[in-house]
Symmetry: C2
């Protein structure tokens, strides 16, 4: 199955095959993932069902598929107000392609906001469960500042830094997304049941685990890669040297997502991981939410000599890429001109410029919209 | 005058000319400095005295020289237990050559230790006068740890980080050197009179200002360059964004001395300068005295892929350079072999290996001494 195109009415069979794979394959299983890349989800599910595809797709997966209850997954999700978003759905966050063969097949979502659009302008804020008051203060206040500038703050719902990041965004009436290791109907940690319910109400609860799945160690690790993959950059507020946070940080670096870390007192073990990453040049040192946005937001950093990160082109829909290609290389274009140069309907152009602007590709201009460049074009004076 | 050779009995005339220049020329005056590099101190003093060498060497310098009391400087220094070390003296710290035309002509020293040897294995620890309890704790404890490993801790005697650095070294019975902006007989700040007296007793008080000179703004700035020039690396513990500490840091970088900075809470303005330098890659992030020594001490960092800094070859005396060149490229040499390969007397070889080892060029070996290399030579197993 090609996953880079938008399918407004997704192929129902491919969808069901992806949901079935999400039920029987462990997250981040790159062996099955590569097979799906080559043969497509329908063929792979068929092989699993026939049980004749070698050791990897043998009886284990077959039994899990038979027991999975995948056929009723959609109905069960709907019953609790959730939905399943698969690789072939319009709402699929295309930045997950960067995970390659380890990308999820489907994602469970609880919350009203559009998953793809919400995460197009998102930043991960993660850190230690055993954080200090200092770390908690930073996470809460910076998250609020990011949310006030329309950044979606993504974290993992854990005690400590994660919860402070979610709470900061909520306190600023912003959008926050919590990526869970277990099912979106299995709030974890239990002590955060009320917090997670509020996130579902005002933001998004997200998981690649089907409903009813409990957290397990391996699912925390695969969840961490998902946090890094879904966001434009990862900010580590506090982290001890060996921790799950470090796994998120590594995943961000492997996917060439900017990694940032907050310094703290050298006397605080909770900052040791941040100091190591900064010292070894793995993470950029940030001292404020403005620092983060300066590194994230092309609009703010045009004066910089380094081009700021923008959403990957692959994260755009085919219509958005078509619109992007219709922009003039220099100068601005009006919406009318874009309709004519792209051949898209006016409604698609208007929707598209919003997405392209929030993804950092274009910027508003007195004369319409123009491509964002590493250096601003010469200004008429 | 050539300043790169050792003159056990320095030319008395050149010595007096350098002392006279130190009296009438402002510190770091590169114009006069270049003239001295070209024409030599005797010729420049002669031109000043004749008053016929253009605007720069006109009446101002002539009057200052006449009033300076330079002829009695040596006697006055001796009277208070101090001494004057000039560019042609054996005790001159040769790393000051890195200052080029802005190098001092002479230095006043109060304290028993040999100036050159004491500073061969030295590190500057500097920072804000208005420091926090955190910064003071770091300066005191790290300075003590450095002193315990035979590093001379150099600072400027000011309130805050400087005083904590001196006190830490003293508490560990280590050697500390205080570089003053005014004369070594003019303790500044006055509140540190007892501290400075103790440093003179157990370490070194150092200044390029003649006796009796009071501190002035310009002398603080030139003193800061001296701190950076005299040491192998500079550690900034806490510093606000615009501060004298930043001048020391810039001077260290300009002379290619390693610059290190300590992170702290992002909520603390006293750490803002450190964070900027780390974030912009100007300073290495250090979280412990071991980190500092790891970057400084080749012996500790042989496993690292980056060669550690060592004392500049120009900082060695001609006899020490001759001894260094007499080492075999591979393997160790005994003192006897070094006597024969260098042609130096045994006493000079024994003195020299101590200096070369403390300067990071050679290391002790079961078979004698060997050159320190970026990678350790293959070990017999």
């Amino acid at each position: 199955v090609t996953t880079s195109e938008v399918h407004p009415r997704a192929d129902a069979d491919a969808r069901m095959a992806l949901i079935e794979l999400a039920h029987c394959v462990e997250p981040a299983d790159a062996v099955v993932g590569r097979l799906v890349q080559r043969a497509g989800p329908l063929e792979v599910v068929d092989r699993i069902r026939r049980g004749g595809a070698g050791k990897r797709l043998g009886e284990g997966l077959r039994a899990r598929l038979a027991d999975s209850g995948a056929p009723s997954a959609e109905a069960r999700a709907t019953a609790i107000g959730a939905r399943i978003v698969t690789r072939v759905d319009r709402e699929w966050p295309r930045q997950l392609h960067d995970l390659g063969a380890a990308a999820p097949f489907a994602i469970w979502v609880l919350g009203a906001a559009d998953l793809r659009l919400t995460l197009l302008r998102s930043v991960a804020m993660v850190g230690a469960r055993a954080c200090t008051g200092y770390g908690e203060l930073i996470a809460r206040t910076w998250s609020a500042a990011l949310a006030e500038c329309s950044w979606t703050v993504v974290s993992g719902g854990a005690f400590g830094i994660d919860a402070a990041a979610h709470r900061g965004a909520l306190a600023a009436d912003g959008v926050t997304a919590c990526i869970l290791a277990g099912g979106v109907d299995m709030p974890y940690p239990r002590a955060h049941e009320a917090l997670l319910a509020r996130i579902a109400d005002e933001g998004l609860l997200v998981s690649e685990s089907p409903l009813g799945i409990e957290v397990r160690r391996q699912r925390f690790l695969s969840r961490n890669r998902l946090i890094a993959a879904l966001t434009r950059a990862t900010v580590v507020v506090e982290a001890a040297e060996r921790s799950g946070t470090m796994a998120t940080a590594r995943a961000a670096t492997e996917m060439a997502r900017p990694l940032m870390a907050v310094p703290g007192p050298v006397t605080s073990p909770a900052s040791a991981g941040c100091h190591r990453m900064i010292g070894e040049g793995e993470a950029a040192l940030v001292t404020s939410a403005d620092d983060i946005m300066g590194l994230l937001d092309l609009g703010r950093s045009q004066a910089s000599t380094n081009p700021a990160p923008r959403a990957n082109r692959d994260a755009l829909s085919s219509a958005e890429r078509r619109l992007l290609d219709a922009f003039p290389a220099r100068g601005a274009a009006t919406a009318e001109r874009l309709v004519s140069s792209s051949g898209l309907p006016a409604s698609a152009v208007w929707a598209g410029v919003g997405v392209l602007a929030s993804a950092g590709w274009i910027t508003e201009d007195p004369a319409g919209w123009r491509l964002v460049r590493d250096r601003p074009p010469p200004q008429p004076s």
